[in-house]
């Protein structure tokens, strides 16, 4: 029997999708499976065949959960995620509102404003390392000249300021994402709504509260969720500037996993931390989906 056109089309649909699924199976699903296997099969082995031969056990997780470093890293990840999300969101929102107005050369200024998004994390790190240098950094120099600072602050080197120091470049790199998303949402709000609000005598704040915010809330919350997930796993900016130091002050989960694997060469415990990290992210997504579903329903 000849296959119907419908069957042929369905085969084509899967055929076109196959390379992507193959890539994901080989380069995402299989690695994830290896991580889980590593976390539940304690002991040292690098080859996958050796790894699978070892007995199951919870030693990796017990070891990790008893480490103060893990709980510190959880806390640092939370501080880092919230501490960069809030300022980046506010900055992105303000910039989007500003750039939604009509003014000359808006198109070019907008391109320039969003530029930090395209700067590689490592380049962002070295630039801010230089700007926040204790002796010769321009930030300390300006603060000294303004009389705000009497002694030099070694931003990245002092354990008390290191977290703030890695947050600044993170915010700088991530605000364009909010600006882009919110700007796109603003453009979808019909101008007639604003006219109606004006006719009704709404103040600027009321127009924002009852016209603008409802129009951008959905996309803005989704952007916040995605950004939180990305910041939660951020590696480049922190590792390239402090490597998680000084004294672990900026050691987030993403850094801890890497150092455990490639500085201490304990792949099993690194995998266990990774599993806990993915679990946390999954719970976070599941909780946020409830909020988001209401938004987009």
């Amino acid at each position: 029997m000849r296959p119907s056109l419908h069957d042929a089309e369905r085969r084509l649909a899967w055929l076109l999708l196959a390379p992507a699924l193959l890539a994901v199976a080989l380069l995402i699903a299989w690695p994830l499976y290896v991580i889980v296997q590593m976390s539940v099969r304690p002991g040292k082995a690098l080859a996958i065949s050796e790894l699978m031969a070892r007995p199951l056990g919870t030693a990796n997780f017990e070891r990790v959960l008893h480490q103060q470093a893990l709980w510190d890293a959880f806390w640092h990840s939370a501080v880092y995620t919230v501490g960069s999300l809030v300022p980046a969101f506010v900055a992105g929102l303000l910039f989007a509102l500003l750039f939604h107005r009509a003014f000359p050369a808006r198109r070019w200024l907008r391109s320039l404003l969003l530029l930090p998004w395209a700067v590689p994390g490592v380049v962002v790190s070295i630039t801010f390392l230089w700007m926040l240098d204790a002796s010769y950094g321009v930030v300390n120099a300006v603060l000294r000249d303004l009389g705000i600072l009497s002694t030099d602050i070694a931003w990245f080197v002092d354990a008390r300021t290191a977290m703030a120091a890695v947050l600044v470049p993170t915010v700088w790199k991530s605000f364009p994402f909010f600006a882009i998303t919110i700007l796109a949402a603003l453009q979808s709000i019909p101008e007639t709504l604003y006219e109606a609000a004006r006719v009704d005598g709404a103040s600027a704040w009321q127009r924002f509260r009852y016209v603008t915010w409802p129009g951008i809330r959905g996309p803005a919350l989704l952007a916040a969720l995605l950004n939180a997930l990305w910041t939660f796993r951020e590696f480049d900016i922190i590792y390239a500037s402090t490597r998680g130091g000084p004294a672990g002050a900026t050691e987030t989960l993403g850094i801890l996993v890497y150092r455990e694997a490639f500085e201490s060469f304990r792949f099993g415990t690194a995998a266990a931390i990774g599993v806990l990290m993915l679990g946390t992210a999954t719970i976070f997504v599941a909780l946020s989906m409830r909020v988001l579903r209401k938004e987009f329903a």
Partner: protein, 277 residues
């Protein structure tokens, strides 16, 4: 207040904002153009003294560090992974856009979830896998790793572009005797060219910026990419800041050009949440 004046006031506010936001890039460029004797100062001049401006730091860093090799490696990895990802993602994005069965939707959602994976975690099994496959210290390993993170997202981007093209195009092509694959090749892809360009630029920027795979999966210094090379300056006893900033400028310049080409698509074309490395 006239609306004309108002527009210029908004322009001034926007211009000042942009100037403040871009100060780090400005400072990187200024530092790269000045000698250490001026840069290492308690009161660095905010405007560069023009009589001291020179390209010496660029010449110096190219002489003392294999910056050209780093750039070559980054280019090879970025071009390779962009091409592979783009082909895979275009086919998959087209499939997800045109045939929306339940299984396709599940496959699409699975692709999206992979964006959650931390690079510093997935690199652990990559290291094990590539060691087993004797691919450590090859550019192929870096291309494969970049494809892994690039494909899921590029697929969604391409799906979004294909969604904007009406299905009547294929129906018309079918009436003219095209097979579905011919319709994709001769009708849809030419129309999707702006989308393909945006997607390619996005993939190239992400691959060029990539750090954790390049730091881990190659150890030989002659295979370092730009990001690994730049990071190797950090933690040296005396950092040569003008040289480091010069290397930073060189590594950033191609991304800025690509970004200015990509930017129009970012606001107009993409749906919410579609852009981020």
């Amino acid at each position: 207040m006239s609306s004309r004046l108002q527009r210029w006031l908004w322009f001034v506010l926007a211009a000042v904002t942009v100037a403040l936001v871009l100060f780090p890039i400005y400072w990187m460029v200024v530092t790269s153009l000045l000698p250490s004797s001026i840069v290492l100062s308690r009161h660095p001049p905010l405007l560069p003294p023009l009589e001291h401006v020179s390209l010496d730091a660029f010449a110096g860093v190219f002489r003392r560090r294999p910056v050209l090799t780093w750039i070559l490696n980054s280019t090879l990895v970025a071009v390779g992974s962009t091409l592979v990802s783009l082909v895979i993602a275009t086919l998959a994005g087209y499939s997800l856009s045109r045939w929306q069965t339940r299984a396709q939707k599940v496959a699409g959602a699975a692709l999206l979830l992979t964006k959650m994976l931390p690079g510093s975690l997935i690199v652990v099994p990559f290291f094990v896998m590539f060691t087993t496959a004797h691919l450590i210290d090859t550019r192929a390993a870096l291309v494969a790793a970049n494809v892994a993170v690039g494909v899921p997202f590029a697929t969604w981007m391409m799906k979004g572009f294909f969604d904007t093209l009406p299905r009547e195009l294929e129906q018309a092509a079918a009436i003219d005797g095209c097979t579905p694959l011919q319709a994709l090749w001769y009708v849809i892809l030419p129309l999707a060219r702006p989308g393909l360009a945006a997607c390619a630029i996005y993939l190239a920027i992400v691959a060029w910026s990539e750090f954790v795979f390049a730091r881990t999966l190659v150890t030989r210094a002659d295979l370092w990419t730009v990001t690994v090379g730049l990071q190797s300056f950090v933690g040296e006893y005396l950092v040569d800041w003008p040289a480091l900033m010069a290397a930073g400028v060189v590594s950033l310049a191609p991304m800025l050009v690509l970004f200015l080409l990509l930017e129009p698509f970012l606001v107009s074309g993409l749906t919410a949440g579609a852009v981020k490395q």
